[in-house]
């Protein structure tokens, strides 16, 4: 990150500045707002992404039996409940002393996960982001949405609908419901797929693959249409973090942790997920409910990293499905050996993954292990479990400590969006400096801030858990709106009063 961007985190004299608020940030999951502070010449002096909702799951799972976790924590989210369900399930596998699942259980969970990532990526690209990319940032608000796409490009809308619908169909077939289903149990799953269910899911596969290829082509084309803009818009240079398979392949369900530096060098590689705490720390800032994780080795200031499709496609050595691998090679050629840092490249990478998911689903549906009879493994109970998965939005950490009765003592969640918090803030500062600074603000200009945020596909409702460390500011304001007194509780628990 640069000093130029860091300087925009906190203005020296905020009380004297004009305040512009984008609230709510639209076409993202959850609720957030952006505040900009401008001086008299409309120069941007401060830019922040605020998360205005609070979840607190880390606190209220305490005291609950650990086997309830996979069902409870998926209530974090209505978009990616499967990711939370599986991450928690992996953690409680470890608490149950299970390290290897039967092939049927492992493949059922993977299939479920591919369905989840596919539907989530389709939702984000087609419903939320494509209007900006297809119509332009300045298009009329009333038209710049999925229904505008439906009117002007029904073929694109149809692809989005079919891909999302198929991903949800996979989830429903396995978990019983499209949202908040239940299939993973300690050490395995509670159900396999019958041959008939596999055949039914496989029926639209050819069409799904065609839609996925077209989606990738659209994302690629949109990026390449103006390479200069695509490369510099909201760009921030960061390290990249993701899981990778033992052989370096793209891995969404399991594997070890890999972090690459800005120039592409290894910061760490194949780190067992249980050791995440040695490599990642979290910082709390007084103005946000969302924490700011960083790579320990790089330090608090330089340790920001990104997760999600951009990080995964940059980090892996290859993708084990042919069409997605060919797309990855073309994508990486842009910056190799350094990672592709363009924020808008998230969309391209996301569609590479979507195609990978479609290919992987087709491959898995042909695997008879999905219909096997051995669904669970057992082991010796332990008191701690870490489950890490690549959720659609990035690496998702669930870490639980339990007592002798199996009740949760402590929980730590590092949700994908949280990992991108610093980068998202720097991206909006980049946009503020490049596009807004000194100009008369218009809706289209402000939309550029949202475009930067949307590229990360943040799920703001998943990501806010800083309970107990939550800073609080209380202002006493007179009838003219002037602040008379301020009471502030800082992240360290200290209380300051100013009059």
């Amino acid at each position: 990150m640069t000093e130029e961007l860091d300087a925009l985190e906190t203005a020296a004299n905020p009380d004297t500045l004009k305040r512009v608020v984008i609230e709510p940030v639209t076409r993202v999951e959850g609720h957030g707002k952006v505040t900009l502070l401008l001086d008299d010449e409309d120069r941007v002096r401060q830019a922040r992404l605020h998360i205005v909702e609070f979840r607190g799951f880390e606190k209220f799972v305490q005291g609950r039996p650990y086997w309830e976790l996979p069902v409870m924590v998926q209530r974090l989210c209505g978009i990616c409940p499967v990711s939370h369900h599986l991450a928690a399930s992996k953690a409680i596998d470890r608490i149950n002393g299970v390290t290897d699942l039967p092939p049927t259980a492992d493949k059922i969970r993977r299939l479920l996960h591919f369905g989840q990532v596919l539907q989530s990526h389709a939702l984000h690209f087609f419903h939320l982001s494509s209007p900006d990319l297809v119509f332009g940032y300045d298009d009329a608000v009333s038209h710049r949405n999925i229904f505008g796409i439906l009117d002007d490009h029904p073929d694109i809308a149809r692809r989005g609908i079919m891909l999302r619908q198929f991903g949800q169909q996979v989830i429903e077939a396995i978990a019983g419901k499209r949202i908040h289903g239940n299939v993973a149990v300690p050490g395995g799953v509670n159900k396999a797929l019958t041959a008939a269910e596999r055949a039914a899911l496989g029926e639209p596969m050819k069409e799904v693959l065609e839609h996925a290829k077209e989606a990738l082509e659209l994302a690629r084309r949109l990026f390449l249409a103006d390479v200069d803009h695509s490369s510099r818009f909201a760009r921030v240079d960061t390290a990249m973090l993701s899981l990778v398979r033992n052989d370096g392949a793209l891995e969404l369900y399991d594997g070890g942790l890999r972090a690459r530096s800005i120039d592409g060098g290894a910061i760490f590689d194949h780190v067992p997920v249980e050791a995440y705490g040695e490599h990642i720390r979290e910082q709390v800032k007084p103005w946000s409910y969302m924490k700011f994780p960083y790579i320990t080795d790089l330090g608090r200031d330089a340790g920001a990293y990104r997760v999600g499709p951009l990080a995964r496609v940059n980090n892996c050595d290859f993708i084990d499905t042919p069409l997605a691998e060919a797309a990855r090679v073309e994508f990486r050629a842009f910056a190799e050996p350094a990672p592709v840092q363009s924020t808008l490249a998230f969309h391209w990478a996301r569609m590479i993954e979507l195609l990978h998911c479609a290919e992987a689903i087709e491959r898995l549906l042909a695997d008879d292990d999905l219909s096997g009879g051995e669904l669970r493994s057992d082991g010796e109970m332990t008191h701690e479990g870490v489950g890490v998965i690549e959720a659609p939005r990035g690496t998702l950490f669930h870490h639980f400590l339990v007592d002798d009765q199996g009740l949760v003592r402590r929980a730590n969640l590092i949700v994908s969006t949280t990992s991108n918090n610093r980068a998202m803030n720097d991206s909006i500062r980049r946009v503020a400096l490049d596009e807004l600074d000194g100009r008369t603000l218009t809706e289209g200009l402000l939309n550029r801030i949202e475009v930067a945020i949307r590229a990360y596909d943040p799920c703001l409702s998943c990501a806010t858990h800083a309970l107990g460390k939550m800073p609080l500011a209380l202002e006493l304001v007179d009838h003219d709106g002037d602040t008379i007194a301020t009471l502030r509780r800082d992240v360290d628990g200290g209380v300051r009063r100013s009059v």
Partner: protein, 158 residues
């Protein structure tokens, strides 16, 4: 595989009291037609709310029936025909049946031959399990009306 000619979608939030009554009626219908001549002709689905992707469910149907719970219904059950209209519910998160039909028309250039909205009265929509006395009382009548509608439709094309 060819879809069943009739699709019945119950929608609402079961965690919000009466709002889940549409889903309850559809689940009761699914149980009641098991093993009958209606079963191969009728597919039942449920959803918390109607969303864009549900337009794909409607493809290839002769008839679509939406079952919802509504506050402004006085009779035990209100049945009305619906047509594709882009109404004020047109958002990406929650669509009315007419708006969903309109999405299907635009995206897939098709729609069911006829579509119906079956509404059961609701009185309590706060976070709660179970139904208010009024709604509970209306469930059997609503199921009867839905069954009659579905039977009549099957007879018409059989």
């Amino acid at each position: 595989m060819k879809p069943a000619p009739i699709l019945v979608i119950g929608y609402g939030n079961p965690d919000r009291g009466d709002d889940g009554a549409g889903i309850e009626v559809v689940n009761r219908l699914a149980r009641s037609i098991e093993g009958t001549a209606l079963e191969p002709n009728v597919e039942t689905r449920t959803a918390v709310q109607l969303m864009i992707e549900h337009a794909a469910w409607l493809n290839g149907r002769v008839c679509a029936v939406f079952v919802d719970c509504a506050e402004n219904v006085d009779s035990p059950c209100r049945v009305s025909e619906v047509e594709a209209v882009r109404d004020r519910s047109y958002t990406s998160h929650q669509l009315s049946p007419p708006a969903l039909l309109e999405v299907q028309q635009r995206a897939f250039a098709q729609q069911p031959g006829r579509s119906w909205l079956v509404e059961i009265p609701g009185r309590e929509f706060a976070l709660a399990a179970g139904f208010s006395p009024t709604t509970r009382q209306c469930l059997p009548s609503c199921l009867d009306a839905l069954t009659r509608l579905v039977t009549r439709t099957v007879s018409a094309f059989a």
